[in-house]
Symmetry: C2
Subunit: 154 residues, 2 copies
DNA sequence: TATTGTTATACTCTATAACTATA
DNA sequence: TATAGTTATAGAGTATAACAATA
């Protein structure tokens, strides 16, 4: 191995990037969601579909607007998702008791049943993703991530 | 507050989602990169451009293929980025000493100068993002994130 | 006048197939 | 034959403007 002009042959030096929280958070989220995509295939739920359905199930009567605010989605992009989930008979829209512009979103019996399974799968995935971590470490990780995104805004 | 059909008015219950590493990692990375986008505007560098330039600066002579492998990019998507950065005279391609198919990528004087500033900005951003964390916590966060994405693969 | 939900649309990001030139 | 780089293109994901119905 000569010395004049150091040509890279092995693994490149990623020291700086790996010192950045954003870089590592992105890599971690991509890894987890790749796994998620595979394991959630039986339910035909993308991460965003899972989040939407989960929030509806745990917050019956929630509105589109509230879903957007909670998940950082834009209203026009939610329309198609809700339409598709309604067509699959996983959720239904009921007239809102107090506001004629909104609809309250509710899981159907089928939707509730499926989400019970899907959430169990998500929790199992979680345990697999955190397999190299002790329970205390997993808890710490989530606590520190929250400090990042709750403080930074959004 | 009546009890019959619990209509959601306040903040929705996000307990389950917030217990998932993937959900929290995504929120954290979005928050950090939103900030990144604003502060990096003077350099006209998206996160991916910054990563590419940073790797080139710290690994002079690196090839497209190595960049793709290190950053999880697909070759066709890298072409346009490199072309744009070359046009801005931030990097240049030199014939690869050993392989006629490849080019070695090198930062130009202008590119090296700009990246020195950009990386200083990135490190400052990092300190702001981790402002609510002690240095030890920041280190722990990155260590745990790495455990997630290195273990899960890719 | 402001807000909810919607349509249409544009832009970015990511992914696949196929080609060329070198190895 | 296999690989590095490229082209063209398709599909997600994300963004803005403008509108109807209701508050």
């Amino acid at each position: 191995m000569s010395a004049a002009d150091p040509v890279n042959v092995g693994q490149p030096d990623t020291t700086l990037l790996e010192s950045l929280v954003g870089y590592n958070a992105r890599r971690a989220y991509l890894a987890v969601f790749e796994h998620f995509h595979v394991e959630m295939a039986p339910y035909q739920l993308r991460p965003v579909d899972f989040s939407v359905m989960s929030l509806i199930v745990h917050n019956p009567g929630i509105t589109s607007r509230q879903l957007c605010a909670a998940l950082g989605l834009l209203p026009p992009n939610l329309v198609g998702m809700l339409k598709a989930l309604e067509k699959r008979e996983l959720l239904e829209r009921r007239p809102h008791p107090a506001d004629g512009r909104s609809h309250g979103l509710h899981g159907t019996a089928q939707g509730l049943k499926m989400m019970a399974l899907a959430e169990r799968t998500a929790v199992r995935l979680e345990q697999e993703a955190a397999a190299g971590l002790t329970p205390a470490e997993a808890e710490t990780l989530i606590r520190l991530l929250k400090k990042i995104y709750i403080k930074t805004g959004s």
